[in-house]
Assembly symmetry: C2
């Protein structure tokens, strides 16, 4: 692939990008918060419109419950090219924008400041869908046309754990059949290297609720009435001790130990501790430091147990002397290959009973298994190589991400190599206030996807 | 005091009560939430108006900061009666109404249902002020007139711990000088006996904040980034163990052990465990049960440490995979005579440092000392006796309440006997949603206050 081809793609991208950003901004104005059941029908309609506008075929699949799954299809321009098919996985839903008072701009009024576009969902994952569709449009307009078939699976429940994706993928396995898959999203690290992953962690997201009474009480009753909030904190510390060790029996069952070579790959991943501390403003030492563990090893190979939320009683200004009737914790466990979220859920329930916390209800809100793709597939090599050509920088590939997505279901149903890449940057703040992408990364991401598609058939033939 | 006098008072009350309820409803419509700085000036104006309407003298004291203190004065009708003075302590502020979705009616639109008046602050403590003013009006209109001087101290910061009351009482000690004091509020127990107290617990209300980072993070970082919510729960359990024992060094310093006779009085107080479990819908055994402690002993003589609120990260519907930047707990310690809130605050700070929680900030939001009045003063006998005559039921007097108020400051500055009684009932739900009083109790409370004032001079002369 010559530098000239990339130059041509860049030129075409430049002609099209302001129109693309406008489309993206309209897409971002839709407050598609799946956890709050917001703006689903209008977002589905908008996604379908974006596909059809550039001569794609779109189908809305909604016969199996949950928010609809959008199928998109773009046929290769020439008959002889149409044997190979790339699948893009995206989602149109976004995280809740709360806490709203920490946003510098309205989360659903996309705003460009200093070359960055701020909005909820711009990095995770609306920006990537628009970049990918733009790449297709560029190739359709190019001399050679779109060289391969391209499919999209765009779901609307990724941010609530993709509860309906498995049945859709099972029923529509033939529709989504492809030779390789580009996953959801990705981005650059603090040294501006594109970080890709060939796998993903799983998740068991649970809600623990302690209920002490039917109504909130005057706190003077604390002399003899038990307190749901105290029950909850005492239950929590039996699950993860003050050394940050998860101590739930059976939690580590089935974990496939990484090989020495996998550990070596991960230990060699770039990791800038000072930059991470600065970006997030960390006040405490890394929990890996006390144990002499490499944070990269922990990120890829260790499961976690994170308190995502705590709520009980009065949390407003000043003093309200109440003895709360209930207390709630949201707990996110990131899982590694071999762990089963249903098993984790059963272990936590059994653990709490064993410790005498019969009164604490546990709900599994989101369960997903981890997945690792074949690290050495020629498709993955191709995605890396084209990225190095476009970005003119080193690419970093990890066996799996620290984050989660429904990759396991794809791997199991479609049996294809999967790699994740996208238009984010080191400070994209996915899931946090002031989420953003840089316009430059969006432009480069478009060019990378177009360049990658151009060589896709050849790369697959090397298989 | 003959039964005929009480009958006359009841007759006068009946003529006046619908007008009183209307005044009370207008008073309750003012959302005077001191913790949220709401409706202070208009409530002060309304209180002054109520005093002046019935020929009282009113002064607004606001020269020492905080919400104004209202002084009210009613002179004895006949010169020869004007040697003795009763002081009423009330407050015009109310607790926050949250959680709003648990109210069956608008908390600031007083609503009568089945003989009960529902509104925030009706039991604590707006209903009592209106009942007391009505009692004065009845006596003014009676043949004998108002037989003694009556003063009011009505403050606006009781629900946030009366932070400015001490300087006002010190500066205006002469203005508020009196021979005895009827305290804030009270009410009936589940067997409809009037419960009175001659003292009150103290309080150290603290806010603990753990800060881990400048921004909320993606929860996948939990593999190596420390978590403010985990820090906070681990810190909390070092303060009160899973046996509900407070284990902060120095917490119990200075406590004056109750005498055997005090313990006997308290053990003989009525206590209906089944009724309490039913009213609040308790799901858990009393914490005193495991230790074989009498709940009455705990209520009066044991200090507490209650989690009033917990807040961290995402607490909305469904799953948000966030690693929270901070976590907050509100802790209310009810104190007994001899404990010092400032000392408790210092002990908690030192405790957390000793356990390695240097990162947790502690703020003392409200500190008050406990107080016990002279249990055997003739004034207290008089209040009890007149109540028994009006209510035709036994009266229960405890050495001190389980609740808190600024009684210590009164006792120290004014040196007078204090007893608390009022128009609440067993399900008044002070500080909780659906706060209420029963109209019948409001009526009886007016008659009791009028009857008590009628014999006040004589009772004091017995001193």
């Amino acid at each position: 692939m010559s530098g000239k081809d990339i130059e041509n793609l860049k030129k075409s991208m430049k002609e099209m990008v302001s129109d693309s950003i406008e489309k993206l901004q309209n897409y971002l104005r839709l407050p598609t918060v799946s956890a709050q059941h917001k703006a689903i029908p209008e977002t589905v309609e908008y996604v379908v419109k974006m596909i059809k506008e550039i001569d794609g075929e779109a189908k809305v699949l909604d016969d199996l419950g949950g928010n609809p799954v959008v199928y998109g299809f773009f046929k290769a321009s020439k008959q002889e090219d149409s044997t190979k098919t790339l699948l893009f996985y995206n989602h149109y839903d976004v995280q809740p924008p709360e806490p709203l008072n920490e946003w510098n701009t309205d989360p659903f009024e996309p705003t460009i400041i200093d070359g960055k576009l701020y909005a909820r969902g711009v990095a995770d994952n609306k920006g990537d869908l628009v970049a990918r569709l733009t790449a297709i449009r560029i190739l359709q307009n190019s001399e050679g046309g779109l060289p391969c078939n391209v499919k999209f699976l765009i779901e609307g429940e990724e941010e609530i754990g993709s509860p309906h994706l498995a049945p859709y993928l099972e029923k529509y396995r033939d529709l989504f059949q492809a030779d390789a898959c580009i996953w959801e999203f990705g981005g650059k690290d603090v040294k501006n290297r594109i970080n890709m992953v060939a796998g993903i962690k799983g998740m068991a997201y649970m809600e623990l609720t302690s209920i002490g009474a039917d109504i909130d009480m005057h706190s003077s009753l604390g002399a003899y009435v038990d307190n749901a909030a105290w029950r909850l904190v005492h239950a929590l510390v039996t699950m993860k001790n003050n050394q940050n060790e998860i101590v739930v029996d059976g939690f580590f069952d089935g974990i496939e130990e990484p090989t020495e070579s996998e550990k070596q790959i991960v230990s060699a991943l770039p990791f800038d501790e000072e930059a991470i501390k600065r970006i997030y403003g960390l006040k405490l030492p890394l929990i890996t430091a006390a144990k002499g563990v490499d944070p990269r090893i922990a990120m890829v190979f260790y499961p976690t147990m994170t308190i995502c939320g705590l709520e009980s009683g009065y949390t407003g200004e000043g003093a309200k002397t109440v003895l709360p009737k209930k207390a709630k914790a949201k707990i996110d466990c990131r899982l590694v290959p071999g762990q089963d979220p249903e098993h984790i859920f059963e272990c936590v329930k059994k653990h709490l009973k064993n410790y005498g916390f019969h009164d604490i209800e546990v709900k599994l809100i989101n369960g997903q298994k981890a997945f690792r793709s074949d690290y050495n597939h020629p498709f993955i090599d191709h995605v890396i190589q084209t990225a190095e050509e476009v970005y003119e920088n080193e690419v970093v590939l990890a066996p799996n991400a620290a984050g989660t997505g429904p990759m396991y279901i794809f791997g199991e149903q479609l049996k294809l190599p999967i790699v994740s890449t996208g238009v984010g940057w080191a400070e994209s703040k996915a899931h946090a206030p002031n989420e953003s992408i840089r316009i430059q990364d969006f432009e480069d991401g478009i060019v990378h996807m177009a360049h990658m598609l151009n060589g896709f058939n050849h790369a697959l033939e090397r298989e």
